[in-house]
């Protein structure tokens, strides 16, 4: 009876090389899985870093453009200041008008413009949208958040 049982066990027991191969396979699977996760993590974090850098560079560009814009506005104002315009007008042969030299013409229906909107409206405000989490979160942080949120 016992011999019969031993035979059955031997019949179904895997060969040692099979067992070893299973272990090696499991190990390789774990290595490949870990490598894939690591690669994915690297890709995500590298992408986030690249996006972060780009944002920083754009921010610097925006600041530089704003400065250049302010400088140009001031430069333009200097070139069109009263003293400068008067000097240029005199150079071109103009002279200040005297009250008696003005002719007024009535234009039916004409209404003198009031300074209602004096300036081109400033740029429509760029409301500050926070960066999406995808750009700032690592994979681990994302997973952690999901777990905490009870998604998993």
């Amino acid at each position: 009876m016992q011999a019969q049982a031993t035979q059955i066990i031997h019949a179904y027991k895997q060969a040692p090389w099979r067992v070893q191969r299973q272990y090696v396979g499991a190990f390789l699977l774990a290595v490949i899985g870990t490598s894939m996760i690591a690669a994915l993590y690297l890709q995500v974090t590298a992408g986030a870093a690249r996006a972060g850098r780009e944002i920083q560079e754009m921010r610097v560009q925006i600041t530089a453009i704003q400065r250049a814009n302010a400088d140009l506005e001031t430069q333009l104002a200097n070139l069109t200041s009263t003293t400068e315009m008067e000097r240029r007008a005199l150079e071109m042969g103009y002279r200040p008008v005297k009250p008696g030299e003005l002719d007024y013409v009535a234009v039916p229906g004409f209404v003198a413009p009031e300074p209602a909107i004096l300036l081109a409206a400033e740029d429509v405000v760029q409301y500050s949208h926070p960066l999406p989490f995808e750009y700032t979160q690592s994979l681990i942080e994302w997973f952690d958040d999901r777990v905490k949120a009870g998604d998993y």
Binding site: A77, P99, G100, L118
Partner: protein, 578 residues
């Protein structure tokens, strides 16, 4: 044998496990110790930095969109000491370009405390100098010369005034610490400066934080007309030279809504060199005499006395008064300006010849309570509420004050013993020019923020007199100017107004040789579009306002009608246009 090795191996493994476990336990212990928390917090300190983001200061424009105050980029020039390789070369170059001595820069670079990482050599350096320095740094880099390594330039904004001294008394200025002083810059400092935002900026690019958009300061649009302001300032400067006067002020306002078109005073500060302030002014009240200096304006106050008398029905334009050249009020005898009797006069004659005796009589007829009640309603002794900093409120003594005497009723009626600012009288007179409605003067037209324009509504400061009274007095003042062929008249336009020549009070009484010459006037009489106040302080060629302030009014009015596009009366009546 194998058994012996097995035991040894086991012992070795056990030893290694124990050591390994000890290392892990120690690691866990250290990680969770009190010191670890301190180290972690210290580490956090270097993981980023708190950075303050300052918004760009709001700009200031005139009513036609001309920039009066803007911003320009300047640089902080500094050296990163850890990257510095050649302090001699840096000292030589920076000394040459920044106008400093070699020794000065060299000492700064070599004798700074060891804990310092960065040292500022000079701030507020202009764009041209920095561009030249940047070019030089690049040239040296191109030939692999790192003598200038460590040199850095940090840009930031500085307030800039393209018109230099134009309207300086209205604008005020901003110091390097970013705070506004005087005028608009001080009054609206919080709006213009905006709100700085402090942000933690991590150095780890993986933690790219969102730097918030810091909204710029609010941009302001003023009621000032730049071209008229320039003309008025020129006229004022020229008048002071022509009449040998000490100082002066001219204001041009819209009597319908209180918008100030121009406000000129002397001396004026070049706002791009605001450090000259201390050499130009003895005290803050001199910065804008139009609002900051109260003085005895003299006969221009007579229009308020007459307005009160007409409004209460005490007199009418045709009421007659026999002028004997003097009148006794409160036991003191009051004389006319020329100490002469002018005989029978109607009320227009009293204004036309500026008779002190007549106006003192009118005040006594009205009575103390009524007279001072009207003066209060005209706003004397109170600030106008203009949106400029540094406004004085003048002084109106009233019965009950320890220094008020019965004679003050008579003298106050013709402008003696009462101090006002030019702007106060302008506001009071707006009631006469504007059908009895007094307007609050203001210089802010609108605010621009987040792409929206918010206009500032006009405010009325009460109705001290009836519309009918205002129209009657308007006509009386126009007739009185025409009757004396005043030098204040403006060809083509009917104007109303009043002169004021006031002796200057001293510790020993009134100085008869020095006067304040003033003129207040408006036009066109049938539809007033401008209200002008002229104050010439201590003119020497003539002490009389009819010969100094009145012709200045005429010049200012001529420029005003041109620049505000106000057609002559004949044209307006012909076409029925405004």
């Amino acid at each position: 044998m194998r058994q012996q090795y097995a035991v040894r191996t086991l012992l070795l493994v056990a030893g290694l496990v124990v050591v390994g476990l000890a290392v892990i336990v120690q690691m866990i212990r250290i990680q969770n110790s009190e010191q670890a928390k301190i180290f972690l917090s210290q580490g956090d300190m270097y993981s980023g930095e708190f950075r303050m983001f300052y918004p760009e200061r709001g700009e200031i424009y005139d009513r036609n969109g001309h920039l009066l105050a803007g911003n320009r980029t300047v640089y902080e020039v500094g050296v990163s000491l850890s990257q510095m390789t050649d302090p001699q070369a840096l000292a030589y170059i920076l000394g040459t370009y920044l106008g400093l001595t070699y020794e000065e820069v060299y000492n700064q670079l070599t004798n700074s405390p060891k804990s310092w990482e960065y040292i500022v050599i000079q701030d507020y350096v202009g764009d041209e100098t920095v561009s030249a320095l940047q070019q030089l740094v690049q040239q040296m880099k191109d030939v692999d010369d790192d003598s200038l390594s460590g040199l850095g330039f940090k840009p930031h904004f500085q307030r800039s005034y393209p018109e230099d001294a134009l309207a300086s008394n209205v604008l005020g200025f901003v110091t390097r610490d970013g705070r506004g002083y005087f005028g608009i810059e001080e009054k609206y400092n919080d709006l213009l400066a905006g709100n700085p935002v402090q942000v933690w900026v991590p150095t780890d690019p993986n933690k790219a934080s969102e730097i918030p958009k810091v909204p710029n300061g609010t941009t302001l649009v003023l009621t000032i007309n730049r071209d008229l302001q320039a003309k008025v300032e020129n006229i004022l400067d020229q008048s002071l030279t022509n009449y040998g006067a000490e100082n002066g002020a001219i204001i041009v306002m819209d009597p319908n809504n209180g918008e100030i078109f121009a406000m000129a005073t002397t001396p004026r500060l070049d706002l791009n060199n605001y450090t000259d302030y201390f050499s130009l002014y003895d005290n803050g009240s001199q910065y804008n005499r139009s609002i900051g200096m109260a003085y005895e304006a003299g006969s221009v106050v007579k229009i308020l006395t007459m307005a009160a008398a007409l409004d209460t029905g005490t007199v009418t334009p045709s009421t007659t008064f026999i002028d004997t050249g003097s009148i006794e009020v409160g036991g003191i005898t009051i004389h006319n300006w020329d100490r002469q009797p002018w005989g029978q006069q109607d009320m227009i004659g009293c204004l036309q010849h500026s008779l002190n005796v007549c106006l003192a009589w009118i005040a006594t007829q009205m009575g103390t309570q009524t007279f001072y009640g009207y003066m209060e309603r005209f706003g004397l002794g109170h600030p106008t509420g203009i949106d400029l900093s540094g406004e004085a409120m003048g002084r109106l003594k009233v019965p009950g004050d320890t220094d008020w005497y019965n004679v003050d009723l008579g003298t106050n009626a013709f402008g003696q013993g009462v101090t006002v600012t030019p702007l106060q009288l302008l506001m009071s007179a707006s009631a006469i020019a504007n059908d009895g409605k007094m307007v609050t003067p203001h210089v802010l037209y609108s605010m621009l923020r987040d792409g929206h324009q918010y206009n500032v509504p006009s405010q009325y400061a009460g109705s001290p007199i009836k519309a009918e009274t205002a129209r009657t007095l308007n006509e009386m003042l126009a007739i009185s100017l025409e009757g004396e062929s005043s030098s204040a008249l403006v060809p083509g336009y009917r104007v109303a107004g009043k002169t004021g020549t006031a002796q200057i009070p001293t510790e020993y009484g009134y100085n008869e040789s020095q006067t304040n010459a003033s003129f207040i006037g408006w036009g066109p009489v049938d539809d007033p579009r401008f209200l002008i106040y002229v104050w010439i302080q201590k003119p020497t060629t003539s002490i009389w306002s009819s010969e100094t302030a009145a012709p200045v009014f005429s010049q200012v009015a001529e420029q005003t009608v041109i620049l505000l596009n106000i057609p002559p009366d004949m044209v307006r009546n012909q076409f029925g246009t405004r």
